[in-house]
């Protein structure tokens, strides 16, 4: 018999606890105490169990997890005896426990790390393992802006099973996003892109499996070819974060700051990972174009994860010089949801609304509404 596959499991026991009692998040010990006082009941155990049950008969699988509420309980709830590692203080787990657990899973050589939580949990996992370990989120948090989560626990389980059974081999870099919870509770939305986790990727759960496709990679190459071919001399190209825009710098043979903004002039990199002030400096006396993509599953074009490209910069560059790029697959996944912007400046937001042509491939455009 072939060696058993190893599945790492991390449950953030306080994930989602703030949501049902209206606390807009669960980060910080004080909030967690407050939530419990308001009568919050953790749902995360249920959701982790649902996902594990979806994997089905797990004889072929070794589950490695942390004690008690951080995973052991969820595994046992499905009648599985997991290998338990590490130690925790029951009832007092912290973000550091998640990070420690993730690092331990990496050392244990798990084939896939399944974690239940929200944006905060995804950040902790990302901080600990980066892109060194395939991971996948079971959505259980209040804030789910990160694209590393499956749409629900059932599909998380299904995707994990397909990956572990070698039925899908593709890994896909998905955004780890988080809001500043403190600001969020004050009514201010400020999301940051922290990085990318490698998640198992089935072109889309909506896709007919029988349809051959060359995958999203081919779409990205086709987009890059289009954008690069149409690049003009002496124009500044402000290139936003993401794997879609990285395909463009790849086509140019340049490096890319995955979660930052880079600037290209005459097909050369002139500045990497710039902030707003640096951009304003570079813009002096130059014509510029902005190349951005939208965030998967959400459709945000400006204001989430690319705040360096500030309203002032967008205004200076002008609407007609904004190039939005997206694979058709990413657009399909949005369904009827419109694209949107939230730059923090009402006038700029208004200027950006209306219909835009999104570059979806070589000589291919989709007209989508920005609201």
């Amino acid at each position: 018999m072939a060696e058993r596959k190893k599945l790492g499991l991390i449950v953030n026991p306080v994930a989602g606890i703030g949501g049902r009692v209206g606390l807009k998040g669960s980060d910080g010990a004080e909030i967690q105490r407050q939530a419990l006082k308001l009568g919050a009941v953790p749902q995360v155990l249920n959701r982790a169990t649902q996902a594990l049950e979806k994997i089905g008969n797990i004889d072929w699988l070794e589950i490695i997890t942390y004690p008690g509420e951080m995973g052991e309980d969820a595994a046992k709830a499905c009648g599985v005896e997991p290998k338990v590692i590490g130690s925790i203080k029951p009832g007092e787990t912290t973000a550091e426990d998640t990070r420690k657990a993730a690092r331990d899973m990496l050392r244990q050589g798990v084939d896939l790390l399944l974690f239940a939580g929200g944006d905060g949990t995804a950040r902790d996992v990302y901080t600990a393992v980066g892109e060194n370990l395939p991971a996948l989120g079971i959505p259980a948090g209040v804030k789910i802006h990160s694209a590393v989560y499956a749409t629900n626990p059932l599909s998380a389980g299904e995707l994990a099973a397909l990956y572990l059974k070698d039925r899908i081999g593709d890994l896909h870099e998905a955004e780890v996003m988080d809001l500043d919870e403190e600001a969020f509770r004050q009514g201010v939305v400020s999301a940051k892109l922290y990085g990318y986790l490698k998640i198992p990727f089935r072109t889309s759960l909506v896709q007919n499996l029988k349809m051959p496709s060359a995958g999203e990679g081919a779409s990205l190459a086709s987009i890059a070819y289009d954008v690069v071919e149409k690049m003009e001399d002496d124009w500044l190209y402000i290139i936003g974060p993401g794997t879609t825009t990285r395909a463009i710098t790849d086509e140019l043979g340049l490096g890319k700051t995955l979660i930052g903004v880079d600037v290209v002039l005459n097909r050369e990199l002139v500045a990497a990972d710039v902030n707003e002030a640096q951009l304003l400096d570079l813009l002096k006396g130059r014509r510029a174009k902005i190349i951005v993509t939208l965030i998967g599953g959400q459709g945000c074009v400006f204001g989430r994860g690319n705040q360096q490209i500030s309203p002032q910069i967008i205004d200076k560059v002008g609407r007609e010089n904004i190039i939005v790029v997206s694979s058709p697959e990413k657009l399909y996944a949005l369904g009827q949801q419109p694209l949107w912007v939230d730059t923090g400046d009402e006038d700029v937001d208004r200027m950006l609304t209306g219909y835009i042509k999104v570059v979806t491939g070589y000589n291919q455009r989709a007209v989508r509404k920005v609201s």
């Binding site: 081999g169 909506v206 349809m211 496709s213 369904g335 042509k357 509404k369």
Partner: protein, 528 residues
């Protein structure tokens, strides 16, 4: 599962029971694997010496370039082996003549009358050769000419070419005519953009790209209908034309289609009506009356000629008077005494295929229209729409199903449904429902590109089916979704009563494993 009484009636209280169906399952190898050296179907006798002396070496008369250096490596089989092989394969099929074929939406799987096949196989047609002198082929030319007249009447267009071999070939032809038109006005370089909608037949975008155009795709507006404002944002002095299907593959008829045509015309572009989904509008709306410049019909769909597994089909292209000069050559013409092939068309885009149109396909379509008459054609459309909306209402009674975009509105001749809710509740996917439905003897299909509707299923009942048959189909789908809720594993491990097994689809996503020929397969699979 308990054995059911085999003598049980097909109906209970007037409603059909689910069939106790079991399909043949042969584990039949492919014919290359059945091959054994020396097995023969026909042994052609050696040429007698006397004849050889007279005729000489026949092969030597062939040019070197067309002579094989080695015999072809065809499978070696006897006649009964070949017969058994294909009979077995046919038993592992849920063909259109075998099942209640409404599950292949967008394909208009209507009944293809068998008598028309007999006509097409009649020696008077089958023994004709397209290179025959036109004086000796007046019958088929007359038929083509008269059929063109029918299509002109149905669409309002002024001329038709029957030459393109299928729908996509016709769309490509129309895209080529758009280019020829702009070229004739000196604007070919400037006008390089074609606009289409995401739920138009995907061939519109694909053929426009193949013909060298840039493609702009519109998404539906918030009301679920094609978005007129998006079109206004898309047109410019670069607009070459609009390629649009109506009703779209969702079954939604664009209520603003006249405004679409107007906006594109004002921008200087041409409008092409893809009438692949014409089955619900025959005799009701006409492309030319709406202002379209070009259109095409699929003779193998709307006009009952069978689909033939990808061919032969027929994609008849229609043009307005102003654009007729660009149609492919030759057109079939009549000088008052005889029918002839008109090659004297200097502005024509040329040929898109050899000869003049697939004669047996045209004959079947012609016979079909003749058997119906104008009133009958309209009735076809009306029944197709009635059937579809009855089916829509019955289907929506099944929990977990929706008909996204313009919800609550009626559809024309097909619907793209979504099982998103059912999948969320049960984890069972649309495709798995379809495989399980095969256990009850019916075919069911999800969707082709674009994969916008989650967990899709596309049904098109056409005019050919009775209410009882629609009810039987709904009962099967309803039963299978019930199983998804009570015993999802049963559905996910299907098929149980039909052919073979599920296959591993992952190589389809891996270009390095694609093999278009047996030889390529053996090379890539490491066999030889």
């Amino acid at each position: 599962m308990a054995q059911q009484d085999i003598t049980q009636q097909r109906y209970t209280d007037g409603k059909p029971n689910l069939r106790r169906f079991h399909q043949a399952r042969w584990d039949e190898p492919i014919n290359f694997e059945l091959s054994r050296e020396g097995q023969r179907g026909v042994l052609v006798p050696e040429v007698e010496e006397e004849i050889k002396d007279q005729v000489g070496d026949v092969l030597a008369t062939l040019p070197l370039t067309v002579r094989r250096k080695a015999p072809p490596r065809l499978p070696e089989l006897s006649q009964p082996q070949v017969l058994r092989h294909y009979l077995r394969l046919s038993q592992e099929n849920l063909g259109a003549d075998l099942n209640i074929e409404i599950g292949q939406g967008t394909c208009t799987m209507k009944y293809s009358p068998k008598i028309n096949d007999q006509l097409a196989g009649h020696p008077k047609l089958a023994e004709l050769h397209p290179l025959q002198d036109e004086d000796t082929a007046q019958g088929i030319l007359e038929m083509m000419y008269r059929f063109e007249g029918m299509l002109k009447e149905i669409s309002g267009m002024d001329r038709f070419s029957l030459q393109p071999a299928a729908g996509s070939a016709a769309i490509y032809t129309n895209a080529s005519i758009i280019r020829a038109y702009h070229k004739s006005r000196g604007e070919a370089d400037q006008r390089d953009e074609i606009i289409t909608t995401i739920f138009s037949h995907p061939s519109n975008a694909a053929c426009a790209r193949t013909a060298g155009f840039k493609v702009i795709t519109l998404y539906p507006g918030q009301d679920g209908y094609p978005d007129l404002e998006a079109l206004k944002a898309a047109v410019s002095e670069r607009t070459a034309g609009l390629l649009i299907t109506n009703p779209e593959d969702t079954g939604i008829f664009n209520p603003r289609i006249e405004a679409f045509v107007e906006v594109v015309h004002e921008a200087g572009g041409l409008c092409v009506y893809d009438q692949a989904n014409a089955n619900g509008i025959l005799g009701i709306t006409r492309a030319r009356d709406t202002g379209f410049d070009l259109c095409h019909f699929n003779l193998h769909k709307s006009f009952s000629s069978p689909h033939g597994c990808g061919g032969p089909g027929g994609g008849a292209c229609g043009a307005s008077e102003a654009l007729a000069k660009f149609l492919p050559v030759p057109l079939v013409a009549y000088d008052g005494e005889k029918y002839y092939l008109d090659y004297d068309r200097p502005d024509s885009i040329g040929k898109v295929r050899p000869f003049y149109g697939d004669a047996p396909v045209v004959l079947r379509a012609y016979a079909w229209v003749m058997s119906l008459g104008a009133e009958g054609l309209r009735e076809v459309a009306e029944i197709a729409v009635l059937n579809n909306n009855y089916l829509l209402n019955r289907m929506l009674e099944i929990p977990g199903l929706s008909a996204p975009y313009a919800e609550g509105k009626r559809r024309i001749e097909q619907v793209r449904y979504s099982w998103e809710t059912l999948t969320e509740e049960t984890g069972v996917h649309s495709e798995e429902l379809g495989i399980r439905a095969a256990d009850f003897g019916v075919h069911y299909w999800t969707s082709h590109h674009p994969f916008v509707v989650p967990e899709p299923c596309t049904l098109e009942p056409t005019e050919s089916l009775s209410k009882d048959e629609l009810d039987e189909y709904v009962a099967i789908v309803s039963h299978v979704t019930g199983e998804a809720r009570t015993d999802p594993e049963l559905v996910k491990t299907a098929p149980h009563n039909s052919t073979i097994h599920t296959i591993d689809h992952s190589p389809l996503d891996d270009r390095s494993q694609w093999a278009m020929t047996w030889r390529a397969y053996r090379r890539k699979a490491g066999g030889a």
